[in-house]
């Protein structure tokens, strides 16, 4: 981000000797107040969520993270099955999305003719613009039946010895559908960041490798990937964060089942999807507190993920601008 400090240059020094301008002070105060809103919101979000989750945190403690049950009747709540579901769906989606996204970015930067490049890039970005609720609707009514009738029998028949394909789905709502929907959601995000990264690789380096007789793939493997390595890592982290936080589309297709199954064709649930699914059913105070506890877990995860990715991005940007 090329955001240069304007006030540190000549005019600021001039202003100090110049006459007092009330308009400047007014502008400064108003814009500063607005700019602080982001920070204030972050603090407020953390404080409000911790306060609201506190009764549940106090009652269940860290056992919440290892308790499988979510039983309003017994007043027993735990996040273990949702954490498991979140891990399986987001890691599964990341595994599928990583090669596809990097391949798309390579196509857009190295292979596509100039005219095709812009059009394909826009179409891939359009995929990111489709609302999650629409993808979820498509997931239940189109993708779900396709998985049950075509994809799952094929995978179960050929790879059924693997635990992840060990059962046959009875309904379209299952973990596998959630993984596919999440993959569709994060591919455009990761590939558009990777495209920017690959465009930033100095042409001299690529030309040098090409002059030595390297093929395009060897240039990508030997020059582009190592050069963009840290940035790709940041892109994958951001994609993971997006997959973990997606609530709506996942809750539509995953089956909302409190259970830990290894087979991807069984129903499950994730942290975000559980919160979304309970928007009407949460009656007791303790259940609401427990829902907010789930949100606190998500918040902590998203803070870690984003700060980590930003640190990587800033370090890379600093290195490149220094070079």
């Amino acid at each position: 981000m090329a955001v240069a400090p304007r006030s540190a240059t000549g005019p600021a020094a001039f202003k100090r000797r110049g006459r007092f301008r009330p308009g400047d002070t007014v502008l400064y105060v108003i814009t500063l107040a607005a700019a602080l809103s982001g920070l204030v919101l972050l603090v407020l979000i953390a404080r409000e969520l911790l306060t609201a989750a506190w009764p549940a945190m106090d009652r269940f403690g860290l056992d919440f993270l290892t308790t499988k049950a979510w039983d309003p009747n017994k007043k027993l709540f735990g996040a273990a099955s949702f954490i498991f579901g979140t891990a399986v769906t987001s890691i599964g989606a990341l595994l599928l999305a990583t090669p596809i996204s990097i391949a798309i970015a390579l196509f857009l930067t190295e292979l596509a003719p100039r005219g095709v490049r812009g059009a394909v890039g826009v179409l891939v970005d359009m995929l990111a613009a489709i609302p999650s609720v629409v993808l979820g609707l498509w997931g239940i009514l189109v993708l779900g039946p396709f998985i049950v009738n075509t994809l799952a029998p094929a995978l179960h028949g050929t790879l059924g010895f693997l635990p992840i394909f060990s059962t046959k789905p009875s309904v379209g709502s299952n973990v596998f559908a959630a993984i596919l929907i999440l993959t569709i959601m994060i591919v455009p995000i990761i590939s558009s960041i990777c495209r920017e990264l690959f465009l930033g690789v100095p042409q001299e380096l690529k030309d040098g490798a090409l002059a030595l007789g390297a093929t395009r793939w060897e240039v990508a493997r030997g020059v582009t990937f190592p050069y963009a390595r840290a940035g790709i890592a940041a892109a994958l982290i951001l994609g993971l964060g997006r997959a973990v936080g997606e609530a709506i589309a996942v809750s539509q297709v995953i089956g909302n089942n409190v259970a830990i199954h290894w087979s991807l064709f069984d129903a499950g649930d994730t942290l975000a999807s559980r919160i979304a699914g309970q928007y009407i059913g949460a009656d007791t105070k303790l259940q609401i507190n427990s829902l907010v506890y789930l949100a606190v877990i998500l918040l902590v995860f998203s803070l870690v993920v984003n700060v980590l990715a930003q640190i990587i991005v800033r370090r890379v940007a600093g290195r490149h601008s220094a070079a």
């Binding site: 409000e48 390579l106 179409l123 609720v133 793939w217 709506i248 803070l303 984003n306």
Partner: protein
Amino acid sequence: MSARAAPDLFRSERIRRRRAVNLFVELLATGAALLAIAVLVIVVASVAKRGAGALNVDFFTKTPDFAALPGQPTGAANAIVGTAVIVGLAILMALPVGILTAIYLNELAPKRVANLLTLALDVLNGIPAIVLGIFVFVLLVNGHGQAAWKASFALAVLMLPLVARTTQEVLALVPDSLREASLALGAAKWRTTLSVVLPQTLGGIVTGATLATARIAGETAPLLFTSSLAGNAVSYDPREPLSSLPLFIYTSAEQADPKLHEQAWAAALVLIGFILVASLIARAFAARSRQRLAGER
């Protein structure tokens, strides 16, 4: 003879293999791009095919009638109006704050402060929408009841970093020579910022705001806990919960009734149509104004 031919053969074999690997990877990369486009086409086509049937004048003018028989009029006018009110209010909240934030970060702030606040915006941007929904729920809704303006507030929190960051980017494109010329003529900093710098960025700000609007118009998660208990009548009052297109899709899709599914597809078609058209126009506009700014430089 054979001793002389062998290395040649060996070398050409190796080159052939490298070329084959390269071709294989190139085909894979092209295939991946085609796959992404195919998924987009399949999703949009299924929405269009299934939604077009229920998309008629009634859909925009009538309210939902769940007992309607096939052929009888039913629609989602309340959801369309509700989405317009909720999103409109969110824009009113997020746009001024976002633009002022960007002005501070790009024109006035010391570098360290700007870095810190920009990081805060990026982190805010990464918080899942459902967490923002729960945040507004415990802050405003729990114990006080749902209202459309509370949903707008949740969407505004989502929109703020988007508007601020895109405005920052266009502000950074304004050439310093303009600022210097204005200051050299004796104009105050605030005057320079508001009447020289800001007008240059108007196109970029409109583009960024349109993209951000397209992004939040389809969000469901922030509305679940803030504006989901709405009636079926058309209402413009932001002090009560209003229905919305995303929630209409979400709740209709959960039902087993195929009639409701058809309505959900129609609502999805309206939503997708609005979002795709808005973001395409904004992108085309952005490409043009960026070229113009880059040309002036």
